[in-house]
């Protein structure tokens, strides 16, 4: 029985119990007692906590626009003007955004990501698009109740993008299905 149907049957039992109680109130003259059954399913609350930032690391300034694609597994690929811009020594971590998601073992959940995130450095900005994660439809929590969520995205770098560090935030929402 799935957790959902278990919950629904618990609800039905609760309704019946209330109904029989109401009935008892009317049937006063002779006493009659039966035991009802009650059921409740308490789920582990769903929580998500950030661990690592989604970091594209250091990229050399391109003369032509291009994109840097960072997959949820951390693979870097490039297009356009930044084709040779990422192959430099990284003095800061480069990798996907990671989150610890905790929920009920065996229960499915969904992950919502924004479609666009703006990274800013003062008045300059760069756009993140195509945010995606290692979550796939039907993913359920393991017996350990945890899921290591990794988030990747596409960074759109402009021609002669001003040097400096660009930062932004993005909201990730997980919901029980």
């Amino acid at each position: 029985m799935s957790p959902a149907s278990r919950f629904l049957s618990g609800m039905a039992v609760m309704v019946c119990a209330m109904a029989s109680l109401a009935g008892t109130a009317f049937a006063a003259p002779s006493s009659s007692t039966v035991s009802g059954t009650a059921q409740a399913v308490i789920l582990t609350p769903l929580t998500i906590a950030p661990i690592d930032a989604l970091s594209f690391g250091q990229i050399t300034r391109p003369t032509a626009a291009g994109t840097v694609v960072l997959s949820p597994s951390g693979t870097i690929t490039t297009t356009g003007g930044v084709i040779n811009s990422t192959a430099i020594t990284q003095t800061i971590r480069r990798g996907p955004g990671t989150f610890a998601v905790v929920g009920e073992a065996g229960r499915a959940f969904s992950v919502d990501l924004p479609t666009v995130v703006i990274l800013r450095q003062g008045t300059r900005n760069m756009r993140l698009s195509a945010l995606r994660s290692n979550w796939t439809p039907g993913t359920v929590f393991s017996p350990t109740r945890s899921f290591a969520l990794s988030v990747g995205a596409t960074l759109n770098v402009g021609a002669n993008q001003t040097v400096g560090t660009y930062t932004g935030t993005y909201a990730v929402t997980v919901t029980y299905q």
Binding site: M18, A22, L46, P50, L54, F56, R61, T167, Y170, T173
Partner: protein, 164 residues
Amino acid sequence: MKKIILASAIALVSATPAFAASGNTSSANGTATATIVEPIVLTHTSGAALGFGRFTTGTGGTVSVSAAGVGSVGGDVAFVPGSTNSADAFTVTGDAGRSFSITTGSGSVTDGTNSISFTTTPSAASGTLTGGSASFTVGGSMTLTGSEVAGAYAGSYSATVTYN
């Protein structure tokens, strides 16, 4: 009967908020970051050149110029009086503190008809952009057979710097 229906309705209504309680969904903000750094730019120092000097080949040998610009000969090659040597020079600019590797290629000099090949050696295989800039010099070596035609030869070679 009326009461029973009412009780059922209450049970359903109260069950719905319980199911959608705060533990049913959770949100967190992640940080996203990217850093653009200055590209590495190599510039040939104006006026600098790898100068092998003026020499006679005799029956052949070598002419070398160190990255410090000091010339030397081998075999039957001899510098003529007044000959001077020089190392070539480059400047590098880019991301402060970042290190880079240096490679220089071989090349050839020509008098318009005949050519002589040479190899080059940078003063270092790598460098660091202290304060965003660095420089290096290039020496070279030329092997002569003794059959080269006398004249003034000029040519080029390539130098490449790459971020580590």
